[in-house]
């Protein structure tokens, strides 16, 4: 089970992470991603506690995409462009985006995010708890897929095309997942989810004044840095 190590409301952290992501998404220089990556690290230190080893491993694996883009630009440069420079910019941008996103994912418990959406943004409980159930089912699906593939393989005597076998297993898994969803839905209905007009929560994820301050500070830091980078001529805009 993912345990929340966030010190702020998950929605507040999401908002600040968004503030940090936008400039990086628009940048095509080498300074902006590095600066916002540093801001992102400061944000992680303020917003929660991250498992450094897990963070580095995940970012390291996902940075492979950035390395691929770098090599692509170096080996096949666009006409009239400095392939190396462009490659470095693309690599830094994608790695900064990955780092900021992974940081958010690792410090926020997905259940807390859904709880916060239901409690603070009036996400309907029927939908919120369906998301809970969906998150619960992921490990079950992994287990079931393994069993289904094995059972089908035994049933067919170990012969047959692997791709077709995978498709069959996927169809069986999907049908099972749909049935599971129906049963969970029935279980929720039996416990009055549809009659919940003024639902209460024993686990509260409140939005506090500290969250408001944190969001304002995050916005000011991100926007201020962005403006400075633009006026200093360090920021280069390119959407793609």
């Amino acid at each position: 089970m993912h345990v929340s190590i966030a010190r702020r409301n998950p929605l507040a952290i999401l908002l600040v992470t968004f503030f940090l992501l936008v400039p990086v998404l628009l940048a095509f220089d080498t300074t902006t991603p590095v600066v916002f990556f540093c801001l992102g690290m400061m944000n992680l230190a303020v917003a929660g506690r991250v498992d450094v080893r897990k963070y580095l491993v995940t970012v390291g694996i996902l940075s492979g995409v950035g390395v691929g883009l770098f090599l692509l630009n170096v080996l096949f440069p666009a006409k009239g462009m400095n392939g190396f420079q462009r490659g470095v910019a693309v690599f830094l941008r994608s790695t900064a985006l990955v780092s900021l996103s992974v940081g958010y994912i690792l410090i926020v418990d997905p259940y807390d995010l859904i709880r916060s959406l239901m409690q603070n943004l009036k996400l309907p409980p029927r939908l919120g708890f369906a998301l809970f159930a969906g998150w619960n089912v992921i490990p079950l699906l992994r287990r079931d897929l393994e069993i289904i593939r094995h059972t089908h393989a035994v049933r067919s005597g170990g012969v047959g095309r692997p791709f077709r076998g995978f498709l069959r297993a996927a169809v069986t898994l999907l049908s099972g997942a749909v049935r599971h969803g129906e049963r969970v839905s029935l279980s929720m209905a039996a416990r009055g989810i549809d009659e919940a007009r003024n639902r209460t929560f024993i686990k509260k994820i409140p939005w506090t004044w500290e969250d408001t301050v944190y969001c304002l500070a995050g916005f000011c830091a991100a926007a201020g840095t962005f403006v400075i980078l633009i006026y200093s001529g360090r920021f280069t805009f390119q959407l793609s």
Binding site: F129, S156, I202
Partner: protein, 503 residues
Amino acid sequence: MDLLVQLKQVGFRYRGARLPILKDVHLTLRRGDRILLRGRSGSGKSTLLAILSGLAPEYVGGTLSGVREIFYHRRGVVLQNPEAQVVTPTVEEEVAFALENQGKDPGWIRRRVRETLEALGIGHLADRHPLSLSGGECQRVSLAAALAMDPEVLFLDEPTSYLDEESSRRFFEALDLLHPDTALVVVEHRLEEASRVCRKAYRVEEDGTLKESDFAPGPQELEGQEPAARGKMPLFGEPAPAQRVATFAPVLEIAGLSHKWPLDRKGGQKGSTKLFHDLHLKVSAGEVVALLGPSGAGKTTLLGKISGRLPVEKGRVFIQGKDIATLSKEAFYPLFMLVPQNPEHMFLAETVREELVAGAAELSKEPGGEQSKLGEELLKPGLGLPKSGKRKIEEVAERFGLSHRLQAHPFRLSEGEKRRLNLAVAFAVRRPLYLLDEPTYGLDDHAKALLREDLRSLAEEGAAVLLVTHDRAFAEATADTFYILKDGRLVQEERYARVYCPA
């Protein structure tokens, strides 16, 4: 007001079904009533429970006819599958779920949840994820969730069908906590347990009508009772002859098999734990061997190792004298047939008919494998189903009680029907060894009797059968040899018939 539910001339038909599953049902439920609903699997017991609990047709679709009046305001419902009732990531929230929906004060809810969990003896599980619990514990959490609401009526739909005997007994004992005024409606095959808590029984007949009944088992309804209580085992006919085939060559042989269970990080320990150690087991041709043991003992894991789903790290497994570690999948898998715990995992077609045809069609792909007579019949003369093949499919469907469901999607069958379809498919092909993982889950007594006959026929034709089950009565009536897997050790037991019926 004492009246909780009243049904007058109620009928129910599922979407797309030709015939109604229930018709002309009259039933009155009053405060303090304790009712058992019984009948064959797929007869409509669970549907009737869903109608009484206000879930059908509202949430399951279908058409309700007649008059249904519901007067209660608080109901508790516990369904069959413990996993499919879990919504939240902690036991505490799971039990609080319905109370939160009612808008109760969070402080009061926490106290109520704690009291209920303590009363059921599972207070220590409050912070655990429900899906990390055993089936028995998880079902007690579902019961706690229902009881915490202080329901006027509690509906239990085969709540113990996924549990072993000990967990089932404990589940029913927990119902002693019910307030005398709380009404109870139970669908259950374990009549002995149900008769402890119910005062009245109704049977859903084959034609969909409801008749008042008693708790006495029918000709084939004695499962759940200790053998001593039934004298000479009329359950499935005469007990299997003990050690009848001990001299035959073993089809399956396990030597020194061990398994360590790696704990996840939440388990709090590094390294691994021994689940079982140095197991030895032989299953001969023509023999039915039952493997019993409490939940979590490692029965399914053992089956996983024999069938190649899990690696064999220590020890060896031989099938027909061949070490499975040395075999390719193409050489290994045709040596056995596996019937999994969850019947849905075996399905690969869109209709029951296609499943039955596929059962035989898959066999034809076996390189060098032996084809059953049924398979040959089904597959000739090649494309499409010949008349003789159609006849055979119908015969198989009839034999397994599926003839009225040939066009149905396998996932839409009742639990018992799904299990019967698994068996029909498994038995249509001929393999030297059959591995069955809890084949009696969801089966009614009649279906169990048929299964027992089928397993005995298979053995008589020379197949070896290894049966993993928690159903002692069924194992006793079916198997030649018993092994108990407990505390990591496998012990061969005397036949239960000898233990309980020395005379």
